[in-house]
Subunit: 335 residues, 2 copies
């Protein structure tokens, strides 16, 4: 049975290592580039960088670069470089996000801010950002720097909007989507765009892959927001309920406030504004009985469908199969 | 009387606007590029960016790019772009520095962190960093991205070392210089390097200008550290004494601890560790009577001399005269 047949016939919960089989060598190469770029002559800086690098979890963004390239025909020498760059950008945003969220655990380890303070976390993030651009500038043209610069601007805009709307319990669906399209989907979109473009794909294919990446990012973020309310810290490996604590209104709550009677919505808004530790327990029954949670999952699923649609024009390949499965993988409900 | 004769014969405290006369048009062009690059469709983001842009004070770094280019013969279309990029990088580091220092006033205005919180300040800094690289990537080659990426890595390393050594009252002169060569001198060095290189100067001249910029940066940082202990908030326009509050040992204090008897040094270290608001008053007489302050000024002056030496090989020009005066300007004692 071929890789593809096994995969498509396969288990509902594939292991990422199996999904990444078609790009395993290039992914390993990208990791070596990541480590090499961040060597520091200062032991303290090196220690921080090693800690930051431990955050590498799903390696979703480098995988998107490599799978998009492979699905368009071929990987070049630029691909592992680009994969390392996007992972570095992503790690930088994680380190800064943890400062913003005052998170203390990330992927089962202490966050940089919890261990060394916000100042060091701010600087480590800057260090990762500037190294990412330095590495991107090692490529022949300025294309990667331009595209990644543009995408990261949008990421920052999305995050600034999110902070601005903190405590705004009237946040609408459109504003929520503007935020997550910036903070999450811009980066996954540019990963796929870069992968396709550096593989020499025609412009229409590059745009199709970008659309795939954007919808995958949106679906992923909705799922992440649902899990923040609904998940289990042991499974997700990070502090949960931080959105509620930080008074961030996410999609399940936006739907909840739409679905209940106005007077119940008003009382729920008061509960949300109080930001106590057991809000989560308090909200759970409402989220379930009103169908708000299901509606958020359905919305994520719609974006998975749009991501899959974007792949239609591509010739069949192992990489294309993995891209299809990956889109479904990112919105799995927890076990 | 020519511009140069007037300048060199002139007052001991020239106005920056006069010094920048040979590059006034290009500096104005750089400012327009700075503003245009940072346009945002989100009113809140635009408001923050406008606030961040108000920080523009001496415009030393863009002036160094332009004066270095002019001193090497000619300015190209790339020069105002590079000038805008380095000012954006510098503004990003200021916004993040204020988070690190918990500063509340910068150039007579509230800092971003004081007005909107650390989270917004972290993101605004990231936004400025990524826009700087995006703008640098609009140039034809990756050279500017590579050099600026490398320089900003070193800036971050220097800053991380500084945070790491906070509260270390045994910090030596060599470690102090390693920190300031990173956090300040790398950026002024790359400004001059870029200016010369994009003017088409030969490699030896590019390196001479880089040496000028590095020494000017070191001299400037020593002077800034002295003023933090010794200056007047009304004149400098920022919160002073923050180095002491944040337990950062700077050159005047390193010299002070070297110059006094060991038992007095031990008691001063205890005073420093306590970090109270009136430490500054307490330390002032020691700094003066021991000659520690003079020694720090002399050390700054030595780097001014090295900066001037680096200019020897350049043909005489208005721009060269301004570079000479600028090196002296950055270490002026307060009135």
């Amino acid at each position: 049975m071929s890789f593809r047949t096994r995969l498509e016939a396969g288990e509902s919960r594939p292991r990422l290592a199996d999904l990444y089989a078609p790009i395993a060598a290039e992914l390993a190469h990208a990791e070596r580039l990541f480590q090499a770029e961040l060597q520091s002559r200062f032991p303290f800086v090196q220690h921080l960088v090693d800690h930051g690098a431990d955050f590498q979890g799903k390696r979703l963004r480098p995988a998107l670069v490599l799978l998009s390239g492979r699905a368009c025909g071929r990987l070049t020498e630029a691909h592992p470089v680009l994969a390392a760059v996007v992972e570095m950008i992503h790690t930088a945003t994680l380190v800064h996000d943890d400062v913003l969220d005052e998170a203390i655990v990330r992927r089962h380890a202490a966050t940089v801010n919890a261990e060394w303070g916000n100042e060091t976390a701010v600087l480590l993030g800057d260090y990762l950002f500037t190294h990412a651009f330095h590495l991107a500038a090692s490529l022949e043209s300025t294309r990667a720097c331009r595209w990644i610069g543009h995408a990261t601007n949008k990421v920052c805009e999305g995050e600034m909007q999110q902070v601005h709307h903190r405590g705004n319990f009237e946040l609408g669906e459109a504003e929520y989507f503007a935020i997550i399209e910036g903070k999450t989907a811009e980066l996954t979109a540019v990963c796929c765009r870069l992968g396709a473009s550096y593989a020499g794909a025609p412009e229409a294919t590059v745009e199709a892959l970008e659309r795939y990446g954007r919808n995958l990012g949106i679906a992923f973020q909705i799922a992440d927001d649902v899990l923040d309310i609904w998940g289990d810290e042991r499974n997700t490996g990070k502090s949960l309920g931080t959105d509620l604590e930080k008074q961030k209104l996410t999609l399940p709550l936006i739907y909840l406030l739409q679905l209940v009677e106005p007077e119940i919505a008003a009382s729920l808004r008061r509960v949300l504004a109080e930001a106590t530790a057991d809000q989560r327990k308090h909200l759970r029954p409402y989220l379930e009985t009103t169908g708000a949670l299901d509606r958020a999952w359905q919305r994520a699923q719609q974006h998975v469908e749009q991501a899959l649609d974007a792949l239609h024009g591509l010739a069949d390949s192992d990489a294309k199969s993995v891209l299809r499965i990956l889109a479904q993988y990112v919105v799995r409900r927890p076990a």
